[in-house]
Amino acid sequence: MTPLQIVFLIVTVATLISAVMVVSARRMLHAALWLILSLLGIAVLFVTLETSFFAIVQVMVYVGAIAILIVFAVMLTRRDIQDRDKVTNRGAWAAALAALGVAGGLVGALTGWQAFASIRPELAADSAAEGTRIAQLGMALVSPDAYAIPFEVASVLLIGALIGAIYVAGERK
C-alpha cells in the first residue's frame, strides 16, 4: 500500500462515519458540525484527485458558506424536536433498506463496467500545472464555443435563488 492509499482509506472512513453521524445525530447542530467534517473529508479527496482548485472551492463554499447557512437555519428553527423526540420517522427501516439497496445496486452495476478499475493516467504536460488548468477553465467558461451559456445560466439560477429566498424568508408585517 502506498502512503496515498492509506491517506485515502483513513479519509474515506472518517468521511463516511461523519456522514452517518450527520443522518443520525440527535441534535441538529451536532449534525451540522458532522456535516462540516464530512465535507472537509471530501475536500481532501479532491486533493488526492489533483485538483486543488475544487478542493479549496469545496472548503470555501460548503464549509465557509453552506454549512454556516445551515447552522443559522438550525438556530432559527430550534426549540422544536432537537432533544426530546425521535430522530427518524416511521419509514426509517424502509429508508435504510432502500439506501442499502441503492449502494449495493450501484456498486454491483459498476463492477460490471470495464472502466471500473482503470488506473489514473498522467496529466498532459500543458495542463499539469494547476495554474494553467484554472486559466483553461476560466477561458472555457466565457468562450462562446464552450460553456458561455451554462455560465450565464448559472448566474440566472443564482439570482433566482436569491430573489426567491429573500421573498420567502423576508419578514412580513
Binding site: Q5, V57, V61, F72, D80, L106, L137, V168, A169
Partner: protein, 102 residues
C-alpha cells in the same frame, strides 16, 4: 496509486447515506443535509471521472461548478422555505407540514 473503483464505491456509499438521511430524517433541515451529502457524492464521482477517464477535457470541471451552483441555490431556497414554514406552523418536522392535505 488509487484505482477509480475506490472513489466510485466511496461515492456510492456516501450517496446511500445521504439517501437514508433524506428518507428517514424527521427534521427538514436534516433532510437538506442529506441532500448536500448526495450532491457531494455526485461531485466526487464527476471529479473522479474527469481525472481518470477524460483528463484533457473540461466538461467534468464545468459540471462540478454547475452542481455547486445548484447545491447553493438548493440550500438557500430550501432553508428559506423551512424558516418560512417554521414561522407559520412552528414546526420543522416534515411529516407535520400537512398544508396540502387540507
Amino acid at each position: 496509486m488509487i484505482p477509480l473503483s475506490w472513489y466510485l464505491i466511496f461515492a456510492a456509499l456516501l450517496f446511500a447515506v445521504g439517501l437514508y438521511g433524506v428518507m428517514a430524517r424527521r427534521n427538514s433541515v436534516g433532510i437538506l443535509m442529506g441532500i448536500e451529502l448526495m450532491l457531494n457524492a455526485v461531485n466526487v464521482n464527476l471529479i473522479a471521472f474527469w481525472r481518470y477517464l477524460y483528463p484533457d477535457r473540461l466538461d467534468g470541471q464545468v459540471f462540478v461548478a454547475v452542481v455547486l451552483v445548484a447545491a447553493a441555490a438548493e440550500a438557500v431556497v430550501g432553508l428559506a422555505l423551512i424558516i418560512s414554514a417554521y414561522r407559520r406552523h412552528k414546526t420543522v418536522v416534515a411529516d407535520e407540514m400537512t398544508l396540502l392535505k387540507g
